[in-house]
Symmetry: C2
């Protein structure tokens, strides 16, 4: 592998928070984190999934729909002003009210001039004990996309998307240099025995997205106990080789700032040229749920 002679540094900020019931307080915490990261030179800053509230999907309660808001709306507007004032790109995950009866788990990307660069609506929706998201969120229809910003071409995916290599691949193939995963994942009291295995699997598969695609991966998770779920933090950044550049605490809120050299993407992809050798002539069945043996 040749040494990298074309450095192209972008400084990334991750805001790992603990959320309480007071929405205004959560937003203030986020803003403080953003200002701290920007003060350290961060150019693209990512908040965690549904950063304004506790992770309300632990229960199925119609009252929670009032937490949703339109995009653009008050939160987008406030965050746009902040992005513009600080000259940063900001990834803002929101509970989106799209229309009467259609709600999404969404992330808005605000460019450094405060304009909306793009939005992503969570495509893969979980629904498991403590994570009842199919009750709230219509699966997204944005598809997997790259959003050009002042400081780089980025892709945004959200939490459960983490487990699907297809999502990372399609986003990278559309040009993204960095994959951002705002996240709310934790373990529950009843399965603490497998907690460490879950954390390892979660890190492994996201590092693998970096490796398979030759991109940076940025994961921003919440932290702290909320009702039945202990959110495990450990936000991290992986380089295109799958090496972890920085990792946050499993217990405490934390603001991480790290330099990513986008020049490494070309170097990595030349060294291990996986994208050269994909067998796109043989991948048609990826659009099937299962390939039944008596059909093949």
């Amino acid at each position: 592998m040749t040494s990298n002679t074309n450095k192209e540094i972008v400084r990334i900020g991750l805001i790992q928070m603990a959320c309480g019931e007071d929405t205004e307080a959560n937003i203030k915490t986020a803003e403080q984190g953003i200002r701290q990261a920007a003060g350290q030179g961060a150019q693209i800053i990512c908040l965690q999934e549904l950063f304004q509230t506790p992770y309300f999907c632990q229960v199925e309660n119609h009252d929670n729909f009032k937490l949703a808001e339109e995009i653009p709306g008050p939160s987008t507007q406030a965050m746009s002003q902040l992005a513009s004032a600080l000259g940063i790109v900001l990834i803002v995950p929101l509970f989106e009210k799209r229309s009467t009866g259609i709600y999404h788990n969404t992330a808005v990307v605000l460019d450094a001039d405060g304009s909306i660069a793009g939005r992503y609506r969570k495509m893969h929706i979980p629904h498991d004990p403590g994570f009842y998201e199919k009750f709230y969120f219509t699966p997204g229809d944005t598809g997997f996309q790259t959003i050009p910003t002042r400081f780089g071409k980025i892709g945004v995916l959200i939490c459960w998307d983490q487990w699907f290599p297809e999502a990372a691949r399609l986003t990278a193939l559309s040009g993204a240099q960095i994959l951002f995963y705002p996240t709310a994942i934790g373990y529950q009291a009843f399965d603490e025995s497998v907690a460490e295995k879950q954390v390892q699997a979660w890190q492994t598969i996201q590092k693998a997205h970096s490796i398979a695609n030759g991109v940076f991966t940025v994961v921003v998770n919440r932290v702290g106990q909320e009702d039945q779920v202990n959110f495990w933090g450990k936000s991290f950044v992986s380089d295109p080789f799958g090496e972890v550049l920085v990792e946050a605490s499993a217990k405490e809120p934390e603001v991480l700032v790290v330099d990513c050299d986008l020049g490494l993407i070309e170097e990595t992809r030349q060294g291990w040229p996986f994208l050269r050798d994909r067998r796109v002539d043989a991948y048609q069945n990826l659009t099937r749920l299962f390939i039944d043996q008596n059909e093949t």
Copy 2:
């Protein structure tokens, strides 16, 4: 996650070898390893990629085509007799001469009665310093498939296939419970500085195939210095959660035998039901090499 009450144990054998110039000696070593693993109760035994010879793809030399043989042919026949005598399923990677001028990097799966259960022809072919495979091997046309055997439904992929989540996914979607990766991977003197990173990336992405698909992954690599390449061994088995059950030496030949509980597949896929939530309506572009931005 519920505890697993439906155990379905299959015992797997991995034969990690160092190869010399003497083909007969390599085959004898393989046979000894197979007998050793079978003696320990292994039911499905996997040899490493191109186990009969040194890794000849370090150079582009037409003389090496004479190493290829037809399937069925002498090696298949000898190994069929061994599989039948021991009552084991055997995965035998061979340099296949398919026809005049068409050669493949192939793995034959022999069932426990000695019959040919199936064959896989390596779909993704590398071609990089020291690994000049596009010179020798026509990319396979078998596609990604599951081969039913007496002891389980298995998929075989070969080496470079390791880096492509599509290959693992399609094989798992066709019903495979275990993915086998016969392999010949190592590092070269000139990039020893990145050797450890390469090994980590290699382990990470294959553990991720287990996680994404809820299957066992079995990787059988060669070991030892051959010309410019130091093959790094470290053959391993990952469970459906991505946990490494057993791992071989980085320096020495080794026969590994390990029990895999196929009942864990159902348990894992119920606990983290990724296969439930794939967005097959949004994956069409996986059959494209790149998604150019001015087209979308």
